[in-house]
Symmetry: C2
Subunit: 609 residues, 2 copies
Amino acid sequence: MAAKSRFVLQRLFNGLRTQSLWLQSSKLQSVLTVIFFPGPSSLSFRTHTCGELRSDHVGDKVTLCGWVQYLRQDLFVILRDFTGLTQILIPQEESASGLKSALCDLTVESVIQVTGTVRLRPSGQENKGMPTGEIEVLAENVEIFNICQKLPFEIKDFVKKSESLRMQYRYLDLRSSQMQQNLRLRSQVVMKMRDYLCNVQGFVDVETPTLFKRTPGGAKEFVVPSREPGMFYSLPQSPQQFKQLLMVAGVDRYFQIARCYRDEGSKPDRQPEFTQVDIEMSFVEQAGIMSLVEGLLQHSWPPEKGPIKVPFHTMKYEEAMRDYGVDKPDTRFNMKLIDLSEVFSASDVEFLRSALSKPGGTVQAICVPGGAVSTGRSIWWKHFKHRNHLLLSVMTVLRPLLGHLRLQSAQLLESSGVTLRDPSAFHFLWVVDFPLFLPKEDKPEELESAHHPFTAPLPEDSQLLYTEPHKVRGQHYDLVLNGSEIGGGSIRIHKAAEQHHVLKNILKEDTTLLSHLLEALDSGAPPHGGIALGLDRLISIMVGANSIRDVIAFPKSFRGHDLMSRAPDSLSEEELNAYHISVKWPTNDSLTKMNERLPQSDLWLGFNS
Amino acid sequence: MAAKSRFVLQRLFNGLRTQSLWLQSSKLQSVLTVIFFPGPSSLSFRTHTCGELRSDHVGDKVTLCGWVQYLRQDLFVILRDFTGLTQILIPQEESASGLKSALCDLTVESVIQVTGTVRLRPSGQENKGMPTGEIEVLAENVEIFNICQKLPFEIKDFVKKSESLRMQYRYLDLRSSQMQQNLRLRSQVVMKMRDYLCNVQGFVDVETPTLFKRTPGGAKEFVVPSREPGMFYSLPQSPQQFKQLLMVAGVDRYFQIARCYRDEGSKPDRQPEFTQVDIEMSFVEQAGIMSLVEGLLQHSWPPEKGPIKVPFHTMKYEEAMRDYGVDKPDTRFNMKLIDLSEVFSASDVEFLRSALSKPGGTVQAICVPGGAVSTGRSIWWKHFKHRNHLLLSVMTVLRPLLGHLRLQSAQLLESSGVTLRDPSAFHFLWVVDFPLFLPKEDKPEELESAHHPFTAPLPEDSQLLYTEPHKVRGQHYDLVLNGSEIGGGSIRIHKAAEQHHVLKNILKEDTTLLSHLLEALDSGAPPHGGIALGLDRLISIMVGANSIRDVIAFPKSFRGHDLMSRAPDSLSEEELNAYHISVKWPTNDSLTKMNERLPQSDLWLGFNS
């Protein structure tokens, strides 16, 4: 059997491959490619992919494998694989009638292997819109691997599908060229990130456990019963503790593309499991981590998306809140918040005057170029110079509202045809100098961590930890891309006494849950810091996807369901017995309450909605 | 502040790095390294690592960061980081008394930064056993980052620690040079594997979900309660279904360094979570996958472990069982099983004659060179030519026992000083042509999959699926290294009808649990196959570790405990309520039974024990 001997040759010559060996003769090359050369057609039944053949290949005998995209006039089979399409010419002569009927009987999406000879398409029949449009392959032999029996929808990019149908038949949806591109681009970006961290910067890729212990305040952690009665693991939201322990362990530079878990059923565009680029290093300051991340993104950024400039712009938290009303400003357009308190200091408009007279009362505005947005407590004003409109707000605490209106205005303007944000632009921004603690929403007299309890204070604020903790700023930095937070990190507390003070005296946490970390800090912990980048979000912005689901191979629905396999699922009592648990079925009352909290249907919500 | 401006420069010049720029002058280079060059000291407080300085650096002003290994005679601090040790000379003159007392007061394992000048050690004081033994650094300045307060054991490789203590203080244990090397080698091997798969062979790194649905027969899967009453996810043992669905999706070549979960508390040297190099490709035969894996291991094998030769030797399952009594033969030494039925056909030894007269009765032996092992049903025999001993067994079904005795004999011989296996040798072996089904242990009249239900039969055996399924051999291949199974894979069934027949008629499984996979096979599935390599096991053999725990940063104990953080842990009723479960506390009776099944203590068992 020819295939068998080819494989034997492949295995024998596996060691002979060299980068420098490259043959000029295209025919000899195509024969030798099968044996010697790595690449997408090595070790495979095919000699070429469906997107590869050009007029250079005319006369070559080739073998292609793929899916039947469509048949045309009993003359052509259009064959598809992940690289593109090739037109297969069905021979019409009587002697090839068996081959002809085999090909003509194919259903779309059937899987075949075709051997034939590359030829130029007849003059005038070239397809300039198709990379292989100059040629076609005259079929000489076909092997039918699988006949496609059923198809809930067509695999053409222009067929609009409901998203739940796409998810139920995800293995078909992934055949679309868009999803193929998204998954491949994600793989390549991650590979380049690893190359940068490992090979350029000397980081060590360390895997950390996901079956772990409940963390203090880890209300959103999935639990996993063990075979010991009453004992549970938790699936952690991030490898935070492990990465810090690795620094105490002297690993010096750690990274991991880490699977993380967060159980928050009702938030849109969140997945119960997600991926972060997790980084930690020792003997470093904030600027060092920022520089590392800038280098990382520059190194891994897809060239076709245009270069990105470093260093990224840096903005203080206060400045972001003042100018944009949000801690993750979309800096692709202006329309900053403007303080007009001075202008209106003598206003006779009643609600403005009353607002200004209160403590913290200001008049804030954004400038909406040529637009018109109507809302409750705002007024419209002809702009002095530019004939624009102003949108007004009246209290400092309303800044976030105004920040939100700024984004809504931008959307409205764009939907009415005004070009405000360049869709191909990528605006990176560091936001720094966050407060270390914030008042708890339900108990404002108590403090909680703005990010997490391991963040170190700014050196100049560290004494305030013991006197006025609410004034302390942290060595925390967020990375924002086009108005979305794509990463966050900090320099960590590396002294046990300081960490203990924060946990016990400021946050009133039970420190026994973190005794191993406190002990570790007392056993020779270096100064260290790190960052975590949200990979799903980053890639989705990179490719311009509407949702992170478009860059995840098998995402879950809004309610956390896998619509293809129907997970989660019920278990037998016997299976639960092994874990010493039983289901506590809710009463009618609590069921009603629960349903009120749950989303009413398994709707697909868009990105950032 | 000098550090600040250095970081600003680093960030500004981040984009200017090029591989080709390399300066000859060591001094200029060391200054510019901080700004321009990537590597282990970029972006860091240090200018060099503790293992880096040589006589070339004499006169350079350097900054080192690390842990105090020990102090000597109030004259030297030996400073350690992940690269090695450097001797710091404590200045003795009166003007430096502050610096001297700061250094002399240090406890071991404290973390410091030292700035000073490199100088040659006085003649005769060089340490040839130490890579930096030609030089020392005369301290000019010290910053003490952290004083080590407590230490349950010393961080020196020669201090023997109990393994449970090592695990409880894993962050200290990881400071040993052996663990540092293991983690770094693992990271580098994985990086090269990715390079080969992604960049050389065109594979796509795709992440698949770990919150999934219970698989049929998945008795060893952890379960994860969801917020919907009675609904549970499972943590899968491998991405088997997803990788096959990705082939149906046209991804063509998939790989993932995948976290997998298996709940089998009582088996030694297993971890509840482990990592496999998971590979699947379309349009490929068995030989293609084998060739791919050979290329992968050759590409990623650490050069210091010596080259490995491909192709690996291949052995049929039958041959392995016949010659070695096991399906994962250790081929580093001979001592094969020998059939001596002929020799003893006229024996007057009663138990041999009686054995030979029974159906399937044979006399099997292994040749133990110069050794002596005593066991029950065996006799010793002077060898005809080589004055060796023979160990005999008498039934075909006892082959595995003899295979086990073969390994035990080898261990005994080696412990008595006979060199049998080269400890630096790596013997790879493919085992192929396994039976597709085996009789169930408890119900021998029923069949179960020898590996898993998705394995395709050998083409020449495929008709037997419908007539004599117990005779069918599968397209399955195991990869064995030094007698350990480090991988297994197969060509998969790609036709829905065949898969349905195997599941329903042969294995009597409930096919509705796999309806999505059967539907997928009917929607245009290509021929495909793959493999999974056990990464933890592979790396542990590579580095010669006794246990996979020595190549995992934070392993769990025999009973699945994290001894550092004390996971698993109990949960409050409130926390369980969110998942609609309650603990079913065992009765006294069932508790006794359970304790009998559980290991009596959290013992640490050795590798392969």
